[in-house]
């Protein structure tokens, strides 16, 4: 009997000693809960930081040419006439043949902006629903979130349809303004640009000048994106105002041009992506890794069209071109001219928006509004800064506009796909010339369908509101 009692006592003690909290004690340690994020400005800032960090992350495609925002821009760069790409990553973008529903570029250019938009929608909802944040904190955080959301919708609009001025009633990617689990139907370009403008205007209203560092959004960045959007839409007076406000506080400084474009502290940079030793994508970094031919760690296999190189005077600080292999002037080889504009270090910062771009948008907007004199003055202020021996052209009208467009290419080559952006918005097409590796098969006609991508198969497969017919006529 004693034995029984001992055993029963043993068993019951064990059962009873396990109180009901036994199963409630374990908690996740590498993650934090929603309540931590949306109850303080620090919490919201950490979410914004995370979203900005994610803008350079690979998107599970396991490829070096899908490394976030930099690769979205570089894929545009290689589609033009100024850069010649060797047999390397991005080669099919270079061929202007990478747009089918199952192609990696298609999937990436769709999935990446939407991943960011979803995080931003969670952020926006969290801020709006928060009962702890002050009105000021809410406004300042919302202005960042809305700017970024508009920015990513703008990329989707550019990548997945003709330009706005072609036909704004055409289908555009679906619009989500709150976190969603169900796929939505396609929108239209009109709806999309309406949302983009409303987000940006809202952000301008709520925004401030200060920010944590130049990778975050302040009023300058919001104005800069507003300028680009209006530039595409052809709203020239709005573009002019936005561009001029965007560059306030960011003067020109030619002396940094030859420093390798890898330092966000450059006073011309309005917005960029900073990298540090412990937060770097090194060899995935576009454009540095793919254009720096003198470095043993990257994939530098980019060269520059002799026709483009010939536009630069010897005294232009932007003339970074050289004959890497000593092939001579008339070799005809596509490898004849390399550039030292981008220097790949272990943790190069990446430029996203610089003041000269804003200056040129402002100049173009003035010229489009027949204010040639001011436009020419602005243009020459940049030319003179870059080349002490520069002489004003005296152009006006269309010639002035063309000169501004060429100046955009000369100033921004390799950075944000400016040549493709201009050809698309101005419905011009791109003709390959000079010593290109792939010439006419890579040409883009005006309003060419190759200016946009098809809708990814994986979207069609999982979205009940979009079927295969979405790609008819694409």
């Amino acid at each position: 009997m004693k034995k029984i009692l001992i055993s029963i006592a043993l068993v019951s003690t064990l059962i009873v000693s396990c109180d009901k909290d036994y199963l409630n004690e374990p908690k996740p340690t590498s993650s934090v809960s929603t309540s931590v994020i949306f109850t303080s400005r620090d919490g919201v800032n950490s979410f914004i930081s995370g979203i900005l960090r994610a803008s350079r992350l690979e998107l599970n495609l396991d490829r070096l040419d899908t490394g976030g925002l930099p690769s979205l821009y570089f894929a545009r760069t290689v589609k033009g006439n100024d850069l010649i790409l060797g047999v390397q990553w991005y080669r099919f973008d270079y061929n202007n043949d990478n747009r089918d529903p199952t192609d990696k570029r298609t999937v990436f250019s769709w999935a990446f902006p939407y991943t960011m938009i979803n995080e931003l929608n969670i952020l926006i909802k969290g801020i709006n629903d928060s009962e702890n944040l002050s009105a000021t904190d809410k406004d300042e955080s919302l202005s960042q979130a809305l700017t970024l959301r508009a920015f990513y919708y703008f990329q989707l609009a550019m990548e997945f349809q003709h330009t706005y001025s072609y036909d704004a009633s055409l289908p555009a990617p679906p619009i989500y303004t709150s976190p969603a689990l169900e796929g939505k139907a396609m929108s239209t370009l009109t709806e999309m640009y309406t949302l983009i403008l409303s987000d940006l205007n809202d952000a301008v209203e709520k925004g401030v000048d200060s920010r944590l560092d130049k990778s975050y959004i302040n009023k300058n960045v919001t104005y800069g994106i507003l300028a680009r959007v209006n530039q595409v839409m052809g709203n020239w007076s709005a573009a002019e105002i936005a561009a001029s406000k965007a560059r306030i506080g960011y003067s020109l400084n030619a002396s940094n041009y030859s420093n390798g474009f890898n330092n966000i502290e450059d006073e011309e940079w309005i917005w960029g992506i900073p990298q540090t030793v412990d937060q770097t994508i090194t060899i995935n970094t576009a454009p540095h890794s793919f254009t720096d031919n003198s470095n043993k760690i990257g994939y530098g296999e980019a060269f520059w069209n002799e026709d483009f190189v010939n536009r630069f005077s010897d005294t232009d600080v932007r003339n970074t071109f050289f004959d890497l292999f000593g092939l001579g002037d008339n070799s005809g080889s596509y490898k004849a001219r390399a550039s030292s504009k981008f220097k790949l270090t272990f943790d190069p910062d990446i430029p996203l928006m610089r003041s000269p771009e804003m200056l040129l948008i402002e100049a173009e907007a003035k010229a489009r509004q027949d204010n040639d004199a001011e436009a020419a003055t602005l243009l020459f202020s940049l030319q003179k800064n870059r080349d002490p021996k520069a002489v004003a052209s005296g152009n006006s009208g269309t010639a002035l506009i063309d000169e501004i467009l060429v100046e955009r290419r000369k100033e921004l080559y390799g950075e944000i796909g400016v040549e493709w952006f201009d050809a698309k918005r101005l419905r011009k097409g791109i003709t390959r010339t000079g010593n290109h590796r792939v010439k006419s098969p890579g040409n883009l006609l005006p309003d060419d369908k190759k200016f946009f991508l098809k809708v990814p198969q994986s979207e069609i497969d999982a979205n009940d509101n979009i079927d295969e017919s979405v790609n008819d006529d694409r």
Binding site: K3, I4, S7, L10, V11, S12, I15, Y22, L23, P26, K27, P28, T29, S30, S31, V32, S33, V36, I37, S46, F47, S49, G50, R53, A54, D62, V87, Q88, D97, D100, P101, T102, W110, A111, Y114, N118, P173, Y176, P179, L181, G183, K184, L212, D213, S215, V277, D278, Q279, I283, N295, K296, I297, L327, K335, F346, P441, S458, D461, N463, I466
Partner: protein
Amino acid sequence: MKTIFNLSLIAMLSMQLLSAQKTITGVITDETGVPLPGATVIELGTTNGVSSDFDGNYTIETGEEAALEYSFVGYSSQIIKDIDGDLQNVSLYPSNELDEVVVVAYGVQSKESIVGSIAVISDATIQAQQATTITQALQGSIPGVNIITSGGVPGTNPIIRIRGVGSINADSSPLIIVDGAPFNGNLNNIAQEQVESISVLKDASSTSLYGSRGANGVIIITTKSGTKRSKTQLTISSNYGVSTNASALHDLINVDDFTKYAWESSRNNEQYVNGLTPSAAGSKASMNLISELKYNPYGLSQPVNTSGELLVSPMWDTDWKKAIFSDNVTRKEHGVSINGGGEKTSFYFGSNYLKEEGQVKTTFFERIATRLKIDTEVNDFINAGLNVAYTTSKLNAPSQSGDGIQGAIQWLYSVPNFYPLYQRDGNGELILNSAGERIFDYGNNLTQLVNGSRSNGANENAVGAIDNYKFITNRTSTTMNGYLNVNILEQLKFRSDVFYERSSYDNFSYSDNNFGIAANVDGRVTQNRDFDTTLNLTQSLNYKTYFGLNSLNADIIFETLRYQIDELGASGIGFLTNVNVLNGSTRPEGVSGSNTEERLISLISRISYNYDKKYYLEASARRDGSTRFSEESRWGNFYSIGGSWIASEESFIKDIDFINYLKIKASYGELGNNRGIGYFPYLQLFETGFSQGENPGVLSSSPVDPLLTWEKTAMLNYGVEFGIFDGLLDGSVEIYDKESIDLIYDKPLAISTGNDFIKTNVGSLRNYGVEFSLRSTIIDKEDLTLNLGLNFSLDNNEISKLSQKEFINDNKKWEVGRSLYEFYIRESAGVDPNDGYLMWYKDLLDTNGEPTGERTMTKVYSEADRYYVGASSLPDIIGGFNTSVTYKNFDLNALFNFSFGSYVYDHSYARLMNTTDITGQRHADIANRWTKPGDVTDVPLLLNSQNYFGATSSRFLFKNDYIRLKALSIGYSFKESFTERLNVSRFRLYLQGDNIFTYQTHKGIDPEQDLSGATNNRSYQLKTFSLGVNVQF
């Protein structure tokens, strides 16, 4: 608790009633007259019982008309009625196989009494096969168990599935129990020679005691113990072998063919895509060839003329395979064990050393496994035991599966012989370092126009990676099982088990400071160290009684499980040459760390009953609470019921001469599954680790379903076991049907929502099939025996419910009525003889755009439709065949395993046949390509521009049947006259061959890939010839 009181009350009363009516004494012996100490004598219908002493003597006081049952482990029990007088000597006979004691959930049972489906592999089988790992012993030996060894890295766990695949995203692997406690470590950390038996629990009635973890079957591994009152034995074993790949690699091409094909794909592009004339296209291809390939093994600036002919011979033709594979792959294993026991205590001690090399150079797995087990009787009602094991292993494994750029097989199948192993200058001459040595070519000299940089495998060299990098995983594991058993009454036992396991995992990788991927940061060291701790406590009460011919057994068990993972990682960069510890780092690069804990509480009960050992009934229930679900859905109830009928015990069948044994059984139960879904899948959280500069950053995790709940499986099992014609044919047939409901699945979401998936309960999955296991003793003479065995299963998988019409998952489409594993891909329609383009099928549409049911062909990949192509990656039939022969002192054992009816999608072959990238390695089958109009072939023209010839389609889907001779051993045991002189009791020499023969329908890969039927650049399994010796003192 009240029940237990009542039961004990009855027990005490009955003891008083039965006092001193008659005393019977006697000796219990085995069939040869040797006394059996510790044999049990029980008076039937009472709880009265005693044990025999060391000399087999027993004394029992019984009622006047008593019937006594005599039993001993491993022997058939015997019932004697109407005993005359007071002396009764008894001889017990060893039980035949059907009476084996089988390790089951939380205990042991006689094989007869099992109502469910349990298959056992004994020590004898493991020995006979000379299995080199525990899982190898299972493959081909048990029907319904599908084992896939993915890749040739020694010491890695294979994929194990029991009775189909019962889950999509949650873990479908069986629960592994070692000596009573759940095992979280690497199975290869257990030395197979220290294993006594492996039980595979397949149906609900046998696994339901594991409740929430039993749905995918359970494998119970029991290690060896000593035997009380036995002579101390010392056993020494040793084995040495050499290995090569068991299946041949894909046929690759040489440098000349590569160069010509590259020229041709470039020419075709100019001619057929860009529209140049044939001669202009040819000369352009000749002109551009070297600038596109960037290297030149020929010295000449245009080594191929305008009609595609090579003009000179090459300076190199790199044999990557020879450079990557070791030509001397060895395997050695040595073991020693001592076991024995005295009056009260028994012990087992074993130690085992294994070193197994892999085929990719520098790959090896080295392990030392030691185990000590002691069992002792504290007094006449308490016994206790301790089982301690310590294992340490080291694995060095350069990347050899997956798409990683320096992966050995990936490299072999993507970088052609055209690119040199060592650095060359622009003229093709070797570049030497200051010491006059050759330097691996990493293809990253961007400033050298020719032979400087390649796009294929840029910044890498797989051979250099093997030489200059380190990839070491150290594992150690300490486990302790302690138990205390209190026989409260003859019928009532209390047992307490404590299991503690602490294992450490230390992964170290070093990338060189001068070469390769980390050269730009002067080398990198990454070290990750995890500690896993398991604490498992089990308290159980067992009650066992007999009345008349009835016997009843009941258990109540309370169990808690706590599992903790403590992770720490660090990486640093900036090293001097030959310095590769983190202390030598000049710049720290990253640190990480986390703690995770999971808990489980369970209350378990089981009751089993039999009448006259003819009719058996068993029922069990378990309630589990798991921290993996929210408080609302945390608790799950699981149960099972089963019964069996030993028909051969009925008089009307006993009279049938040729039937020796016949048993019919059935069971049903419901089980759960909570594994493989993460530790907090129900919480929507923000993940840390996304800092931007100095500012901490978080990102929202995937969306969650807060009400996510247990995946449950309902399982039905019927079976018949039989033995006819005295051993000529023994076997069993079982039919199972299991349905998993509330399947946990990463349901794909439209990517425009910004989410890939949500983990939720989506539908139901049915697995059903039939299993056969047949054995035959054909010859059984003193000098010659011949046994044959065959087992196989036919398994089916079917989606029975889905929350939406269909999901597309990679190259499969899931819909109700289909299996998870049916390929849904574009179907190749062959090559158009006119232009050499590959064609695919698409639906023919009517005027309304609806499919007419007919098909047409297209050359535009994105227009082609996807179809079920009548192929599944699950085999129709899997199984094994074994034979054992002994002749005098010789023995021979052979085991084949086979799989028929599955298909594999060969990504490696697809890559080797894809010419879009002209710098890639090619398969020899490219020789059959289309070259001119009118060519009828299934290989399209070579084309160096974006094309989809290599894109996913039925073109690369192959039938993957195979038969493999897994194990063949021939042994010789020396005669006693010889061994006696050496003072040993047993001396056996043997020759062993593993995987020495493989028949396969699709060549070039190892037929064992993965469940979804996808190759992944895995290294190959090895074929090993070895010589071994076993000596017992």
